[in-house]
């Protein structure tokens, strides 16, 4: 690996660590760094102070969930942009968000505790349906995939909107859920999604060299010995799974999966061997910081923050570097 890459990774890990600390310290009660250090170092002494409860049971799981969701969305966004060779692609492009929202609305009618489960089931089913609509013979033409994703997404959104419209007050909660947020964070949720997201990201990373070659075009990739159709399926299935896992726990957080890959492409270049890990780290950082802000501003949906502060930063990067890719 190039030295420059290692330096960038170390820098990002350092920034992520700082972000975690800040996020743990800041909130409705500000906790001094020294107390945090003490609690983390010897929390086995079980001196169940209020501060310890806040840190270990509330803020830490929330930070970890934020990191996981941010990483999953950014890595999935990078993968989708490469798969579709389209800068507008994001993790939700094949209708996963609409599927998740549909599941969430159904669940809220039954029991709010079922929301994550129903969201992930419906999100993955949607991806599966879209995949099968787009498949022709053994092949997966990306344009058909893109369009069928959009069509299925609109269809599900229509049903979801209709259900919300008909429900009166009852489903207003779901509107907040659809804006995305880490309110429901707890250790159980972290435990559920940590494995699928981490394993998924590792699998995608293993194909990073192949994804580079994919950028040359499918036929050129084929000529370089890549099994393009298999690679496309792997990219699509894995990124759908990690996106669905993230969405089920946090709702539909926009912007992260679209913009973080672009920011990192501007900063480290298009090579997936560095682009994927840096996008993951930057996605984690962005979401943790945005969520900290969302908490201190009175629990507003984090999607609002990511777009509100991320977009101007992105525009600044666009203007200062002439090229997007």
């Amino acid at each position: 690996m190039k030295r420059r890459w290692i330096l960038i990774l170390i820098a990002l890990i350092f920034v992520l660590a700082i972000s975690i600390l800040v996020s743990i310290a800041v909130g409705s009660t500000n906790i001094p760094l020294r107390t945090i250090a003490k609690i983390i170092v010897d929390h086995k002494r079980a001196f169940l102070s209020a501060e310890e409860t806040i840190i270990l049971q509330i803020r830490l799981p929330r930070v970890l969930l934020g990191i996981l969701v941010g990483m999953a969305l950014s890595v999935s966004g990078t993968t989708m942009q490469t798969l579709f060779k389209n800068p507008m692609a994001d993790p939700y492009i094949i209708g996963i968000s609409s599927g998740a929202a549909f599941g969430a609305v159904l669940a809220m009618r039954l029991s709010p505790t079922l929301v994550p489960l129903m969201a992930i089931v419906c999100a993955i089913s949607t991806a599966f349906i879209v995949y099968n609509i787009a498949k022709v013979g053994g092949k997966l033409p990306v344009n058909t995939l893109l369009l069928s994703g959009i069509a299925v997404g609109y269809f599900l959104s229509a049903i979801t909107s209709f259900m919300i419209f008909n429900s009166g007050e009852g489903l207003h909660q779901v509107v907040f859920w659809m804006m995305g947020g880490l309110w429901g964070a707890n250790w159980d949720r972290v435990e559920i999604i940590i494995l699928p997201i981490c394993i998924g990201m590792v699998i995608l990373y293993l194909f990073s060299k192949d994804m580079n070659v994919m950028l040359l075009g499918e036929e050129s990739a084929e000529h370089l010995g890549i099994d393009v159709e298999t690679l496309k399926k792997i990219m699509l299935i894995i990124s759908s799974i990690i996106t669905a896992a993230a969405v089920s726990m946090s709702g539909i957080i926009g912007f992260v999966g679209l913009i973080v890959p672009h920011i990192m492409r501007i900063m480290v270049g298009p090579d997936h061997r560095i682009l994927l890990p840096t996008s993951a780290l930057a996605g984690g950082i962005l979401l943790v910081l945005a969520d900290t802000m969302a908490r201190t501003m009175g629990e507003i949906p984090v999607g609002i923050i990511t777009a509100l502060f991320g977009a101007p930063f992105f525009i600044y990067l666009l203007r200062s570097r002439k090229r997007l890719y």
Partner: protein, 414 residues
């Protein structure tokens, strides 16, 4: 050696290739030519396993490529596409290094050896200076050199190219083609689709001529590139000559004769010309009149043109003065014509007899039109003899016109 045996291929229900048989050897540049839609690109795609043929096999050194894995094939065969997408900003070196992909294991990154191969290939294609440039900043010619370097970095035995120069200007075309020629050594089979027949004839030792998915001709360039073959496949008339400068066949398209009714068919015109002075004249008059010409020296441009237009003419051996026999034949032809035109030709001792023929045409009461664009003194290489004849032509009733336009106007009025 690459052998293609009995290939049939379909797009859906449409047969696009039929009974394709040929073989390509190391060290010879093999070109594929043919009209649009004749199956050139499809043939390349079959060879590179992008399209599966319904019947037939492609053998590389006796091994069936359909039994090879993708990576294994990519180590043996590289493809340079017509155009490459450049939307993401890798550096040229990174692009060339991607050519090493089939040689790397999944978790392996490019090592020093791969870097050496990449550098060597870039040197070979003259693009080492571009190594650190972003590919989306490169010009078409530069990009194509980088893409060829990438193909070479695969260290293939076969290099396939699909119209590798079709988007390039003439200087870059030549550079890429010279490069291809240089690359075709004893270890590499190069097969390329060509659009430009002259480029194909200049750079390929062997050609495949395709028409509607079938091979019309396959063999050495001079066997394939004949006027008959080209007319059969492209439906155009051509004049194919060996270019003295490049020693390769050069092909010129002859405008298709319009199937116009010859309104003035009864009018027979005899043209006295030489040194290229009659070429345009013959072209423009041949559509409407019965044309004859003479005496023209063989190898003269006018001789070639008259031959290409199948104009009846009297010709004399190159560089010889017009002999009595030919002179008489010419007079016979003049007698059978209604009008005689003397083109704006230079006159020397070799063709001065043509002017005497014109004098006897006037004596025969023929209409003699003389194009007097360049003053005769300037094109008289007979120490004044031609000038004298011109004088008597004028006195005896020859009609002098100042250029071809005036001539055509006059002819209109007959």
């Amino acid at each position: 050696m690459l052998s293609v045996e009995e290939i049939d291929a379909y797009y859906g229900n449409v047969k696009v290739l039929e009974k394709i048989n040929f073989s390509a050897k190391e060290g010879k540049l093999l070109g594929i030519i043919g009209p649009n839609g004749s199956g050139k690109t499809t043939l390349l795609k079959v060879i590179s396993k992008i399209i599966k043929p319904s019947v037939g096999t492609v053998l590389l050194n006796e091994f069936d490529i359909s039994k090879m894995g993708k990576r294994e094939l990519a180590r043996k065969m590289a493809v340079v596409p017509q155009e490459s997408s450049t939307s993401f900003s890798f550096t040229a070196m990174e692009i060339v290094l991607m050519g090493r992909t089939p040689h790397l294991k999944r978790f392996e990154t490019e090592g020093l050896e791969d870097l050496e191969v990449a550098k060597r290939c870039m040197k070979l294609t003259n693009c080492s200076n571009l190594a650190e440039r972003q590919i989306d900043e490169l010009s078409g010619g530069e990009l194509q050199k980088v893409i060829i370097a990438r193909a070479l970095a695969q260290e293939p035995k076969v290099l396939l190219m699909d119209e590798p120069t079709s988007h390039l200007d003439i200087k870059n075309q030549i550079e890429i083609l010279e490069l291809m020629k240089r690359l075709t050594d004893d270890r590499l089979i190069v097969i390329a689709v060509f659009h430009d027949l002259n480029m194909a004839s200049r750079y390929c030792e062997e050609l495949i001529l395709l028409k509607e998915g079938k091979i019309v001709s396959f063999g050495r360039t001079e066997e394939v590139l004949t006027s008959e073959n080209i007319r059969n496949v492209f439906d155009i008339s051509t004049s194919i000559k060996r270019d003295p400068l490049t020693n390769s066949l050069s092909l010129m398209v002859i405008p298709k004769k319009k199937e116009k009714e010859k309104i003035k068919e009864s009018l027979r015109i005899h043209i006295i010309c030489g040194g290229g002075s009659g070429s345009i004249l013959m072209h423009s008059l041949d559509e409407e009149y019965e044309i004859t010409a003479g005496v023209i020296h063989e190898l003269d441009t006018d001789f070639e043109v008259a031959k290409a237009l199948s104009i009846d003419m009297v010709s004399e051996a190159p560089f010889s003065p017009i002999g009595d026999e030919r002179y008489e034949e010419n007079l016979d032809m003049i007698r059978r014509s209604d009008i005689v035109i003397i083109a704006n030709m230079p006159v020397g001792f070799g063709n001065i007899k043509n002017l005497y023929a014109a004098i006897s045409a006037i004596e025969d009461k023929k209409e003699v039109l003389i194009i007097d664009e360049t003053p005769i003194e300037e094109r008289d290489f007979t120490d004044g003899e031609a000038t004298e004849i011109f004088k008597s032509l004028r006195e005896d009733g020859g009609i002098f016109v100042k250029d071809m336009h005036e001539l055509l106007d006059r002819l209109e009025n007959y």
